[in-house]
Protein backbone atom coordinates (compact mmCIF):
# COMPACT_ATOMS: atom_id res chain seq x y z
CA UNK A 1 0.00 0.00 0.00
CA UNK A 2 1.36 3.36 -0.97
CA UNK A 3 -1.22 5.61 0.61
CA UNK A 4 -0.62 6.67 4.19
CA UNK A 5 -3.15 5.45 6.81
CA UNK A 6 -4.68 8.92 7.26
CA UNK A 7 -5.84 9.18 3.67
CA UNK A 8 -7.07 5.61 3.82
CA UNK A 9 -9.46 6.30 6.67
CA UNK A 10 -10.48 9.49 4.90
CA UNK A 11 -11.24 7.45 1.84
CA UNK A 12 -13.37 5.08 3.88
CA UNK A 13 -15.18 7.94 5.54
CA UNK A 14 -15.90 9.40 2.14
CA UNK A 15 -17.30 6.10 0.85
CA UNK A 16 -19.57 6.03 3.89
CA UNK A 17 -20.96 9.43 2.91
CA UNK A 18 -21.40 8.37 -0.70
CA UNK A 19 -23.25 5.21 0.41
CA UNK A 20 -25.80 7.03 2.51
CA UNK A 21 -26.15 10.13 0.34
CA UNK A 22 -28.82 8.93 -2.17
CA UNK A 23 -31.19 7.59 0.49
CA UNK A 24 -30.70 10.60 2.75
CA UNK A 25 -31.21 13.11 -0.05
CA UNK A 26 -34.35 11.30 -1.18
CA UNK A 27 -35.86 11.47 2.29
CA UNK A 28 -34.98 15.15 2.58
CA UNK A 29 -36.46 16.00 -0.82
CA UNK A 30 -39.49 13.69 -0.62
CA UNK A 31 -40.42 14.16 3.06
CA UNK A 32 -38.83 17.12 4.82
CA UNK A 33 -38.97 19.67 2.00
CA UNK A 34 -42.66 18.96 1.19
CA UNK A 35 -43.44 19.06 4.90
CA UNK A 36 -42.06 22.60 5.12
CA UNK A 37 -43.77 23.58 1.86
CA UNK A 38 -47.06 22.27 3.25
CA UNK A 39 -46.64 24.52 6.27
CA UNK A 40 -45.98 27.57 4.09
CA UNK A 41 -48.97 26.58 1.96
CA UNK A 42 -51.16 26.34 5.05
CA UNK A 43 -50.56 30.06 5.68
CA UNK A 44 -52.03 30.98 2.29
CA UNK A 45 -55.56 31.03 1.04
CA UNK A 46 -57.27 30.99 -2.34
CA UNK A 47 -58.51 28.66 -5.04
CA UNK A 48 -56.20 26.72 -7.34
CA UNK A 49 -52.92 28.57 -7.84
CA UNK A 50 -54.29 32.04 -6.98
CA UNK A 51 -52.88 32.17 -3.46
CA UNK A 52 -52.36 35.03 -1.04
CA UNK A 53 -50.85 35.17 2.44
CA UNK A 54 -53.44 34.73 5.15
CA UNK A 55 -51.54 33.96 8.35
CA UNK A 56 -53.37 31.54 10.60
CA UNK A 57 -56.75 32.12 8.90
CA UNK A 58 -56.94 28.50 7.62
CA UNK A 59 -56.30 27.10 11.08
CA UNK A 60 -59.03 29.26 12.60
CA UNK A 61 -61.43 28.14 9.89
CA UNK A 62 -60.83 24.46 10.61
CA UNK A 63 -62.81 24.16 13.78
CA UNK A 64 -65.82 25.97 12.33
CA UNK A 65 -65.89 23.39 9.52
CA UNK A 66 -68.53 20.80 10.46
CA UNK A 67 -67.10 18.16 8.09
CA UNK A 68 -63.61 18.58 9.49
CA UNK A 69 -64.88 18.28 13.06
CA UNK A 70 -66.77 15.16 11.99
CA UNK A 71 -63.67 13.64 10.36
CA UNK A 72 -61.66 14.39 13.49
CA UNK A 73 -64.35 12.81 15.67
CA UNK A 74 -64.48 9.75 13.43
CA UNK A 75 -60.73 9.25 13.65
CA UNK A 76 -60.95 9.38 17.43
CA UNK A 77 -63.91 6.99 17.53
CA UNK A 78 -61.94 4.47 15.48
CA UNK A 79 -58.90 5.10 17.67
CA UNK A 80 -60.65 4.72 21.02
CA UNK A 81 -62.94 1.81 20.11
CA UNK A 82 -61.05 -0.21 17.53
CA UNK A 83 -57.40 -0.01 18.59
CA UNK A 84 -57.81 -1.31 22.19
CA UNK A 85 -60.13 -4.15 21.09
CA UNK A 86 -57.72 -5.14 18.33
CA UNK A 87 -54.59 -5.07 20.48
CA UNK A 88 -56.25 -7.02 23.29
CA UNK A 89 -57.62 -9.60 20.86
CA UNK A 90 -54.20 -9.92 19.20
CA UNK A 91 -52.59 -10.41 22.61
CA UNK A 92 -55.09 -13.13 23.57
CA UNK A 93 -54.63 -14.92 20.26
CA UNK A 94 -50.85 -14.72 20.51
CA UNK A 95 -50.74 -16.08 24.04
CA UNK A 96 -53.10 -18.90 23.04
CA UNK A 97 -50.90 -19.76 20.06
CA UNK A 98 -47.93 -19.75 22.39
CA UNK A 99 -49.38 -22.74 24.33
CA UNK A 100 -46.67 -25.36 24.24
CA UNK A 101 -48.38 -28.55 23.02
CA UNK A 102 -50.96 -26.89 20.78
CA UNK A 103 -51.82 -28.77 17.59
CA UNK A 104 -52.19 -27.12 14.16
CA UNK A 105 -50.24 -24.11 15.44
CA UNK A 106 -48.91 -23.18 11.98
CA UNK A 107 -52.34 -23.56 10.42
CA UNK A 108 -54.01 -21.25 12.94
CA UNK A 109 -51.24 -18.67 12.61
CA UNK A 110 -51.36 -18.65 8.83
CA UNK A 111 -55.15 -18.37 8.77
CA UNK A 112 -55.29 -15.49 11.24
CA UNK A 113 -52.44 -13.69 9.51
CA UNK A 114 -53.86 -14.23 6.01
CA UNK A 115 -55.99 -11.02 5.88
CA UNK A 116 -52.70 -9.07 5.78
CA UNK A 117 -52.11 -10.38 2.27
CA UNK A 118 -55.16 -8.49 0.96
CA UNK A 119 -54.79 -4.92 -0.15
CA UNK A 120 -56.66 -2.18 1.70
CA UNK A 121 -58.79 -1.39 -1.34
CA UNK A 122 -59.65 -5.07 -1.83
CA UNK A 123 -60.75 -5.79 1.71
CA UNK A 124 -62.71 -2.54 1.87
CA UNK A 125 -64.63 -3.65 -1.22
CA UNK A 126 -65.11 -7.18 0.12
CA UNK A 127 -66.62 -5.79 3.33
CA UNK A 128 -68.72 -3.29 1.40
CA UNK A 129 -70.15 -6.18 -0.63
CA UNK A 130 -70.66 -8.46 2.39
CA UNK A 131 -72.64 -5.75 4.18
CA UNK A 132 -74.57 -4.47 1.14
CA UNK A 133 -78.39 -4.50 1.18
CA UNK A 134 -78.31 -7.65 -0.95
CA UNK A 135 -75.02 -8.79 0.59
CA UNK A 136 -74.20 -12.04 2.34
CA UNK A 137 -74.72 -10.77 5.89
CA UNK A 138 -78.25 -9.63 5.08
CA UNK A 139 -79.04 -12.92 3.34
CA UNK A 140 -78.00 -14.81 6.47
CA UNK A 141 -79.90 -12.48 8.80
CA UNK A 142 -83.06 -12.86 6.70
CA UNK A 143 -82.70 -16.64 6.59
CA UNK A 144 -82.28 -16.72 10.37
CA UNK A 145 -85.43 -14.64 10.70
CA UNK A 146 -83.68 -11.73 12.40
CA UNK A 147 -84.63 -9.37 9.59
CA UNK A 148 -87.58 -9.22 7.20
CA UNK A 149 -85.83 -7.33 4.41
CA UNK A 150 -82.21 -6.34 3.81
CA UNK A 151 -80.89 -3.66 6.14
CA UNK A 152 -78.73 -0.95 4.62
CA UNK A 153 -75.82 -1.04 7.07
CA UNK A 154 -73.89 1.62 5.17
CA UNK A 155 -76.75 4.15 5.19
CA UNK A 156 -76.86 4.57 8.95
CA UNK A 157 -73.93 6.47 10.57
CA UNK A 158 -73.62 4.15 13.56
CA UNK A 159 -73.85 0.85 11.70
CA UNK A 160 -71.56 2.19 8.95
CA UNK A 161 -68.94 3.00 11.59
CA UNK A 162 -69.40 -0.45 13.11
CA UNK A 163 -68.77 -2.05 9.71
CA UNK A 164 -65.58 0.00 9.30
CA UNK A 165 -64.43 -1.05 12.77
CA UNK A 166 -65.18 -4.73 12.04
CA UNK A 167 -63.27 -4.48 8.77
CA UNK A 168 -60.29 -2.85 10.48
CA UNK A 169 -60.31 -5.58 13.15
CA UNK A 170 -60.36 -8.25 10.46
CA UNK A 171 -57.49 -6.76 8.50
CA UNK A 172 -55.08 -5.81 11.31
CA UNK A 173 -55.55 -8.17 14.29
CA UNK A 174 -53.37 -10.90 12.76
CA UNK A 175 -50.71 -8.37 11.85
CA UNK A 176 -50.38 -7.23 15.45
CA UNK A 177 -50.56 -10.83 16.67
CA UNK A 178 -47.40 -11.65 14.73
CA UNK A 179 -45.52 -8.94 16.59
CA UNK A 180 -46.69 -10.34 19.93
CA UNK A 181 -45.79 -13.89 18.90
CA UNK A 182 -42.26 -12.73 18.15
CA UNK A 183 -42.13 -10.94 21.50
CA UNK A 184 -43.40 -14.06 23.32
CA UNK A 185 -40.55 -16.11 21.87
CA UNK A 186 -38.23 -14.08 24.06
CA UNK A 187 -40.05 -15.01 27.27
CA UNK A 188 -38.67 -18.15 28.92
CA UNK A 189 -41.26 -20.88 29.21
CA UNK A 190 -40.08 -21.60 32.77
CA UNK A 191 -41.64 -18.31 33.87
CA UNK A 192 -45.04 -19.73 32.94
CA UNK A 193 -44.27 -23.09 34.58
CA UNK A 194 -43.35 -21.30 37.81
CA UNK A 195 -46.57 -19.28 37.70
CA UNK A 196 -48.55 -22.47 37.21
CA UNK A 197 -46.88 -24.11 40.19
CA UNK A 198 -47.65 -21.05 42.30
CA UNK A 199 -51.31 -21.56 41.39
CA UNK A 200 -51.83 -18.55 39.12
CA UNK A 201 -54.98 -18.61 37.01
CA UNK A 202 -54.61 -18.19 33.23
CA UNK A 203 -56.05 -14.69 33.48
CA UNK A 204 -53.59 -13.75 36.24
CA UNK A 205 -50.73 -15.14 34.18
CA UNK A 206 -51.90 -13.07 31.22
CA UNK A 207 -52.14 -9.76 33.09
CA UNK A 208 -49.24 -10.23 35.50
CA UNK A 209 -46.67 -11.91 33.25
CA UNK A 210 -47.47 -11.73 29.54
CA UNK A 211 -48.59 -8.10 29.37
CA UNK A 212 -45.74 -6.59 31.45
CA UNK A 213 -43.06 -8.60 29.67
CA UNK A 214 -44.44 -7.65 26.26
CA UNK A 215 -44.67 -3.97 27.14
CA UNK A 216 -42.12 -2.72 24.57
CA UNK A 217 -43.92 -4.63 21.80
CA UNK A 218 -47.32 -3.41 22.97
CA UNK A 219 -46.00 0.14 22.90
CA UNK A 220 -44.69 -0.32 19.36
CA UNK A 221 -47.99 -1.74 18.09
CA UNK A 222 -49.98 0.96 19.91
CA UNK A 223 -47.95 3.70 18.22
CA UNK A 224 -48.23 2.03 14.82
CA UNK A 225 -51.99 1.57 15.18
CA UNK A 226 -52.47 5.15 16.35
CA UNK A 227 -50.57 6.69 13.46
CA UNK A 228 -52.26 4.28 11.04
CA UNK A 229 -55.74 5.11 12.34
CA UNK A 230 -55.17 8.87 12.10
CA UNK A 231 -54.23 8.38 8.44
CA UNK A 232 -57.06 6.06 7.33
CA UNK A 233 -57.97 6.68 3.71
CA UNK A 234 -58.61 3.58 1.59
CA UNK A 235 -61.38 2.26 3.85
CA UNK A 236 -63.23 5.54 4.05
CA UNK A 237 -63.10 5.97 0.27
CA UNK A 238 -63.94 2.42 -0.77
CA UNK A 239 -66.08 0.99 2.02
CA UNK A 240 -68.48 3.81 2.82
CA UNK A 241 -67.28 6.58 0.47
CA UNK A 242 -67.27 8.71 3.62
CA UNK A 243 -71.04 8.43 3.79
CA UNK A 244 -73.82 8.58 4.67
CA UNK A 245 -73.49 12.37 4.32
CA UNK A 246 -69.84 12.46 5.47
CA UNK A 247 -70.73 10.61 8.68
CA UNK A 248 -67.76 8.21 8.38
CA UNK A 249 -65.28 10.39 6.49
CA UNK A 250 -61.67 10.38 7.74
CA UNK A 251 -59.26 13.32 7.79
CA UNK A 252 -57.10 12.05 4.89
CA UNK A 253 -60.22 11.45 2.82
CA UNK A 254 -61.46 15.00 3.41
CA UNK A 255 -58.00 16.40 2.58
CA UNK A 256 -58.04 14.43 -0.65
CA UNK A 257 -61.50 15.73 -1.55
CA UNK A 258 -60.50 19.33 -0.82
CA UNK A 259 -57.36 19.05 -2.93
CA UNK A 260 -58.29 16.87 -5.85
CA UNK A 261 -62.05 16.41 -6.01
CA UNK A 262 -63.55 19.85 -5.47
CA UNK A 263 -62.04 23.12 -6.73
CA UNK A 264 -58.60 22.75 -5.18
CA UNK A 265 -58.12 24.59 -1.93
CA UNK A 266 -54.53 23.60 -1.25
CA UNK A 267 -53.89 26.09 1.57
CA UNK A 268 -56.84 24.93 3.63
CA UNK A 269 -56.09 21.25 2.95
CA UNK A 270 -52.46 21.78 3.97
CA UNK A 271 -53.57 23.33 7.27
CA UNK A 272 -55.71 20.26 7.86
CA UNK A 273 -52.81 17.95 7.11
CA UNK A 274 -50.80 19.75 9.77
CA UNK A 275 -53.46 18.84 12.32
CA UNK A 276 -52.78 15.17 11.51
CA UNK A 277 -49.03 15.78 11.73
CA UNK A 278 -49.33 17.40 15.15
CA UNK A 279 -51.72 14.68 16.39
CA UNK A 280 -49.44 11.86 15.19
CA UNK A 281 -46.36 13.45 16.73
CA UNK A 282 -47.96 14.33 20.06
CA UNK A 283 -49.82 11.02 20.51
CA UNK A 284 -46.66 9.02 19.74
CA UNK A 285 -44.77 11.21 22.19
CA UNK A 286 -47.38 10.72 24.94
CA UNK A 287 -47.42 6.95 24.39
CA UNK A 288 -43.62 6.78 24.53
CA UNK A 289 -43.61 8.78 27.76
CA UNK A 290 -46.37 6.65 29.28
CA UNK A 291 -44.49 3.54 28.22
CA UNK A 292 -41.37 4.75 29.99
CA UNK A 293 -43.02 5.73 33.21
CA UNK A 294 -44.29 2.37 34.35
CA UNK A 295 -40.80 0.87 34.44
Amino acid sequence: MKANPMSLTQKQRLSGWIFLAPATLLIVIMSFVPMIQAFLLSLQTGKGNQLSFAGLYNYGRLFKDAIFVKSLTNSFIYLIVQVPIMLLLALFLASMLNTRDLKFKGLYRTAIFLPCATSLVSYAIIFRSLFAVDGFINVVLIKLGVLQTGYNFLANPTSARVVIILALLWRWTGYNMVFYLAGLQNIEYSVYEAAKIDGATPLQTFWKITVPLLKPTILLTAIMSTTGTLQLFDESVNLTNGGPANATITMSHYIYNLSFKYVPNFGYAAAMSYVILILVASLSFIQMKAGDRRD
Binding site: I27, S119, V121, V139, A182, P202, P216, Y256, L277, S284
Partner: protein, 270 residues
Protein backbone atom coordinates in the same frame (compact mmCIF):
# COMPACT_ATOMS: atom_id res chain seq x y z
CA UNK B 1 -57.22 -32.38 35.14
CA UNK B 2 -60.75 -31.60 33.97
CA UNK B 3 -60.10 -27.90 34.45
CA UNK B 4 -57.05 -28.24 32.22
CA UNK B 5 -59.18 -30.01 29.62
CA UNK B 6 -61.83 -27.28 29.61
CA UNK B 7 -59.15 -24.67 29.16
CA UNK B 8 -57.68 -26.58 26.27
CA UNK B 9 -61.04 -27.08 24.56
CA UNK B 10 -61.81 -23.37 24.94
CA UNK B 11 -58.46 -22.50 23.37
CA UNK B 12 -59.17 -24.69 20.36
CA UNK B 13 -62.71 -23.36 19.98
CA UNK B 14 -61.56 -19.75 20.19
CA UNK B 15 -58.68 -20.24 17.75
CA UNK B 16 -60.85 -22.16 15.30
CA UNK B 17 -63.52 -19.45 15.31
CA UNK B 18 -60.84 -16.76 14.82
CA UNK B 19 -59.26 -18.72 11.97
CA UNK B 20 -62.59 -19.29 10.23
CA UNK B 21 -63.59 -15.62 10.56
CA UNK B 22 -60.21 -14.62 9.13
CA UNK B 23 -60.46 -16.89 6.12
CA UNK B 24 -64.19 -16.55 5.38
CA UNK B 25 -64.26 -13.13 3.62
CA UNK B 26 -61.48 -14.29 1.32
CA UNK B 27 -63.23 -17.57 0.60
CA UNK B 28 -66.44 -15.65 -0.09
CA UNK B 29 -64.55 -13.38 -2.49
CA UNK B 30 -63.23 -16.43 -4.33
CA UNK B 31 -66.67 -18.09 -4.49
CA UNK B 32 -68.31 -14.87 -5.65
CA UNK B 33 -65.75 -14.44 -8.43
CA UNK B 34 -66.93 -17.74 -9.93
CA UNK B 35 -70.65 -17.02 -9.67
CA UNK B 36 -73.16 -14.79 -11.43
CA UNK B 37 -74.12 -11.64 -9.56
CA UNK B 38 -77.68 -12.93 -9.02
CA UNK B 39 -76.39 -16.07 -7.30
CA UNK B 40 -73.99 -14.05 -5.16
CA UNK B 41 -76.93 -11.94 -3.96
CA UNK B 42 -78.81 -15.15 -3.12
CA UNK B 43 -75.99 -15.97 -0.73
CA UNK B 44 -74.38 -18.89 -2.53
CA UNK B 45 -71.18 -20.14 -0.96
CA UNK B 46 -70.18 -22.82 -3.46
CA UNK B 47 -67.80 -22.16 -6.36
CA UNK B 48 -69.84 -21.64 -9.52
CA UNK B 49 -69.21 -21.85 -13.23
CA UNK B 50 -69.43 -18.19 -14.20
CA UNK B 51 -65.70 -17.46 -13.97
CA UNK B 52 -65.26 -17.04 -17.71
CA UNK B 53 -68.30 -14.85 -18.23
CA UNK B 54 -67.22 -12.69 -15.27
CA UNK B 55 -63.81 -12.40 -16.85
CA UNK B 56 -65.29 -11.33 -20.18
CA UNK B 57 -67.39 -8.68 -18.43
CA UNK B 58 -64.35 -7.48 -16.58
CA UNK B 59 -62.28 -7.15 -19.75
CA UNK B 60 -65.07 -5.17 -21.38
CA UNK B 61 -65.54 -2.92 -18.39
CA UNK B 62 -61.94 -2.06 -17.52
CA UNK B 63 -58.45 -2.26 -18.98
CA UNK B 64 -57.50 -5.06 -16.59
CA UNK B 65 -54.43 -6.21 -18.44
CA UNK B 66 -53.12 -2.66 -18.69
CA UNK B 67 -53.62 -2.10 -14.96
CA UNK B 68 -51.99 -5.44 -14.20
CA UNK B 69 -48.97 -4.58 -16.35
CA UNK B 70 -48.70 -1.12 -14.74
CA UNK B 71 -48.87 -2.53 -11.22
CA UNK B 72 -46.14 -5.05 -11.98
CA UNK B 73 -43.97 -2.42 -13.67
CA UNK B 74 -44.27 0.15 -10.85
CA UNK B 75 -43.93 -2.38 -8.03
CA UNK B 76 -40.92 -4.21 -9.44
CA UNK B 77 -39.11 -0.97 -10.26
CA UNK B 78 -39.78 0.41 -6.80
CA UNK B 79 -38.72 -2.80 -5.06
CA UNK B 80 -35.43 -3.20 -6.94
CA UNK B 81 -34.24 0.40 -6.66
CA UNK B 82 -35.52 0.84 -3.13
CA UNK B 83 -33.68 -2.26 -1.89
CA UNK B 84 -30.45 -1.06 -3.47
CA UNK B 85 -30.63 2.53 -2.20
CA UNK B 86 -31.83 1.65 1.31
CA UNK B 87 -29.43 -1.24 1.91
CA UNK B 88 -26.51 0.85 0.72
CA UNK B 89 -27.52 3.55 3.20
CA UNK B 90 -28.18 1.12 6.06
CA UNK B 91 -24.76 -0.42 5.46
CA UNK B 92 -23.15 3.02 5.24
CA UNK B 93 -24.75 4.28 8.45
CA UNK B 94 -23.58 1.24 10.40
CA UNK B 95 -20.16 0.34 9.00
CA UNK B 96 -18.78 3.88 8.68
CA UNK B 97 -20.68 5.34 11.60
CA UNK B 98 -19.41 8.45 13.36
CA UNK B 99 -21.08 11.24 15.27
CA UNK B 100 -22.21 13.21 12.23
CA UNK B 101 -23.74 10.17 10.52
CA UNK B 102 -25.52 9.07 13.70
CA UNK B 103 -27.08 12.52 14.01
CA UNK B 104 -28.27 12.40 10.41
CA UNK B 105 -29.77 8.97 10.99
CA UNK B 106 -31.70 10.25 13.99
CA UNK B 107 -33.10 13.12 11.95
CA UNK B 108 -34.06 10.76 9.12
CA UNK B 109 -35.95 8.57 11.57
CA UNK B 110 -38.19 11.53 12.37
CA UNK B 111 -39.53 11.24 8.82
CA UNK B 112 -41.39 8.11 9.97
CA UNK B 113 -43.76 10.41 11.87
CA UNK B 114 -44.68 12.57 8.88
CA UNK B 115 -48.14 11.54 7.67
CA UNK B 116 -48.41 11.19 3.91
CA UNK B 117 -51.33 13.61 3.82
CA UNK B 118 -48.96 16.36 4.97
CA UNK B 119 -46.54 15.91 2.07
CA UNK B 120 -49.00 14.85 -0.62
CA UNK B 121 -50.03 18.31 -1.89
CA UNK B 122 -46.52 19.81 -2.25
CA UNK B 123 -45.36 16.52 -3.82
CA UNK B 124 -48.19 16.67 -6.32
CA UNK B 125 -47.28 20.26 -7.23
CA UNK B 126 -43.58 19.37 -7.46
CA UNK B 127 -44.28 16.35 -9.65
CA UNK B 128 -46.68 18.10 -11.99
CA UNK B 129 -44.12 20.87 -12.57
CA UNK B 130 -41.46 18.23 -13.22
CA UNK B 131 -43.85 16.44 -15.62
CA UNK B 132 -43.69 13.27 -13.57
CA UNK B 133 -47.45 12.61 -13.47
CA UNK B 134 -48.45 9.25 -15.00
CA UNK B 135 -44.86 7.98 -14.92
CA UNK B 136 -43.09 5.12 -13.20
CA UNK B 137 -40.57 7.55 -11.73
CA UNK B 138 -43.46 9.57 -10.32
CA UNK B 139 -44.89 6.47 -8.68
CA UNK B 140 -41.64 5.34 -7.08
CA UNK B 141 -39.84 8.52 -6.00
CA UNK B 142 -41.72 9.38 -2.76
CA UNK B 143 -41.25 5.91 -1.23
CA UNK B 144 -37.93 4.95 -2.79
CA UNK B 145 -36.07 5.55 0.43
CA UNK B 146 -37.83 4.79 3.71
CA UNK B 147 -36.51 5.10 7.28
CA UNK B 148 -37.97 1.64 7.95
CA UNK B 149 -35.84 -0.13 5.33
CA UNK B 150 -32.73 1.84 6.24
CA UNK B 151 -33.19 0.73 9.85
CA UNK B 152 -33.79 -2.88 8.79
CA UNK B 153 -30.53 -2.97 6.83
CA UNK B 154 -28.61 -1.07 9.48
CA UNK B 155 -29.73 -3.71 11.97
CA UNK B 156 -28.43 -6.51 9.76
CA UNK B 157 -25.17 -4.65 9.05
CA UNK B 158 -24.64 -4.63 12.80
CA UNK B 159 -24.42 -8.42 12.70
CA UNK B 160 -21.97 -8.31 9.77
CA UNK B 161 -18.47 -9.17 11.09
CA UNK B 162 -15.93 -6.35 10.80
CA UNK B 163 -13.13 -8.90 10.36
CA UNK B 164 -14.50 -9.78 6.93
CA UNK B 165 -14.38 -6.13 5.91
CA UNK B 166 -10.79 -5.75 7.14
CA UNK B 167 -9.72 -8.95 5.37
CA UNK B 168 -11.38 -7.83 2.15
CA UNK B 169 -9.64 -4.45 2.37
CA UNK B 170 -6.27 -6.17 2.73
CA UNK B 171 -7.15 -8.26 -0.31
CA UNK B 172 -7.50 -4.98 -2.16
CA UNK B 173 -11.27 -4.85 -2.60
CA UNK B 174 -12.76 -1.38 -3.04
CA UNK B 175 -15.35 -0.26 -0.48
CA UNK B 176 -18.25 -0.72 -2.90
CA UNK B 177 -16.97 -4.16 -3.89
CA UNK B 178 -17.03 -5.20 -0.24
CA UNK B 179 -20.67 -4.15 -0.04
CA UNK B 180 -21.60 -5.78 -3.30
CA UNK B 181 -19.62 -9.02 -3.05
CA UNK B 182 -19.63 -9.63 0.71
CA UNK B 183 -22.59 -7.91 2.34
CA UNK B 184 -25.32 -8.48 -0.26
CA UNK B 185 -24.86 -12.27 -0.60
CA UNK B 186 -24.56 -12.74 3.18
CA UNK B 187 -27.74 -10.81 3.95
CA UNK B 188 -29.97 -12.69 1.52
CA UNK B 189 -32.70 -13.28 4.13
CA UNK B 190 -32.87 -9.60 5.07
CA UNK B 191 -33.18 -8.75 1.38
CA UNK B 192 -35.98 -11.30 1.03
CA UNK B 193 -37.90 -9.79 3.94
CA UNK B 194 -37.38 -6.27 2.62
CA UNK B 195 -38.45 -7.39 -0.82
CA UNK B 196 -41.74 -8.87 0.41
CA UNK B 197 -42.60 -5.80 2.46
CA UNK B 198 -41.67 -3.30 -0.26
CA UNK B 199 -43.42 -5.19 -3.04
CA UNK B 200 -46.61 -5.62 -1.01
CA UNK B 201 -46.69 -1.95 -0.03
CA UNK B 202 -46.04 -0.88 -3.61
CA UNK B 203 -48.64 -3.23 -5.06
CA UNK B 204 -51.28 -2.18 -2.55
CA UNK B 205 -50.59 1.55 -2.45
CA UNK B 206 -53.64 3.58 -3.39
CA UNK B 207 -53.61 7.21 -2.29
CA UNK B 208 -50.46 8.33 -4.14
CA UNK B 209 -51.29 6.61 -7.45
CA UNK B 210 -54.81 8.03 -7.18
CA UNK B 211 -53.22 11.48 -6.92
CA UNK B 212 -50.69 11.27 -9.76
CA UNK B 213 -52.10 8.71 -12.19
CA UNK B 214 -54.50 11.09 -13.86
CA UNK B 215 -54.42 9.26 -17.20
CA UNK B 216 -56.63 6.18 -17.56
CA UNK B 217 -53.74 4.31 -19.19
CA UNK B 218 -51.54 4.65 -16.10
CA UNK B 219 -53.86 3.28 -13.42
CA UNK B 220 -52.89 0.51 -10.99
CA UNK B 221 -54.80 -2.61 -9.91
CA UNK B 222 -56.21 -1.10 -6.69
CA UNK B 223 -57.43 1.90 -8.71
CA UNK B 224 -58.97 -0.41 -11.30
CA UNK B 225 -60.76 -2.40 -8.58
CA UNK B 226 -62.01 0.81 -6.97
CA UNK B 227 -63.34 1.97 -10.36
CA UNK B 228 -65.29 -1.29 -10.72
CA UNK B 229 -67.57 -0.48 -7.82
CA UNK B 230 -68.72 2.80 -9.41
CA UNK B 231 -71.94 2.61 -11.41
CA UNK B 232 -75.59 2.10 -10.68
CA UNK B 233 -75.76 -1.66 -10.42
CA UNK B 234 -72.97 -3.69 -8.87
CA UNK B 235 -72.01 -6.87 -10.70
CA UNK B 236 -70.70 -8.78 -7.70
CA UNK B 237 -69.22 -11.61 -9.75
CA UNK B 238 -67.18 -9.23 -11.87
CA UNK B 239 -66.26 -7.03 -8.91
CA UNK B 240 -64.98 -9.95 -6.85
CA UNK B 241 -63.04 -11.32 -9.81
CA UNK B 242 -61.29 -7.93 -10.01
CA UNK B 243 -60.53 -8.11 -6.29
CA UNK B 244 -59.31 -11.69 -6.72
CA UNK B 245 -56.96 -10.75 -9.56
CA UNK B 246 -55.47 -7.90 -7.57
CA UNK B 247 -55.01 -10.18 -4.55
CA UNK B 248 -53.42 -13.23 -6.23
CA UNK B 249 -49.88 -11.79 -6.61
CA UNK B 250 -49.63 -10.71 -2.98
CA UNK B 251 -51.14 -13.96 -1.70
CA UNK B 252 -48.60 -15.98 -3.73
CA UNK B 253 -45.75 -13.94 -2.30
CA UNK B 254 -47.33 -14.23 1.13
CA UNK B 255 -47.37 -18.02 1.01
CA UNK B 256 -44.00 -18.38 -0.66
CA UNK B 257 -42.23 -16.13 1.78
CA UNK B 258 -44.50 -16.17 4.82
CA UNK B 259 -41.67 -16.90 7.20
CA UNK B 260 -39.48 -14.17 5.79
CA UNK B 261 -42.41 -11.77 5.86
CA UNK B 262 -43.13 -12.38 9.54
CA UNK B 263 -39.40 -12.19 10.27
CA UNK B 264 -39.28 -8.90 8.42
CA UNK B 265 -42.15 -7.16 10.14
CA UNK B 266 -41.06 -8.39 13.53
CA UNK B 267 -37.39 -7.53 12.97
CA UNK B 268 -37.89 -4.40 15.01
CA UNK B 269 -39.16 -6.36 18.02
CA UNK B 270 -36.07 -8.44 18.68
Amino acid sequence: MTKEKIKKTLTYVFLTVAALLSVFPLYWMFAAATNLSVDVSRGTLLPGTALISNFQNLLQNQDVLGALANSFKYSIALTLISLFVSSLAGYGFEIYHDKAKDTILNIILLAMMIPFAATMIPLFKMFSTARLLNSTLGFILPTLSTPFLIMLFRQSARAFPHDIIEAARIDGLKEFQIFYRMFVPTMRSTYAAAMVITFMNAWNSYLWPKVIMTDKKSITMPMMVANLKEGYVTDYGMLMLGVLLSTIPTVIIFFALQKRFTEGITGSVK
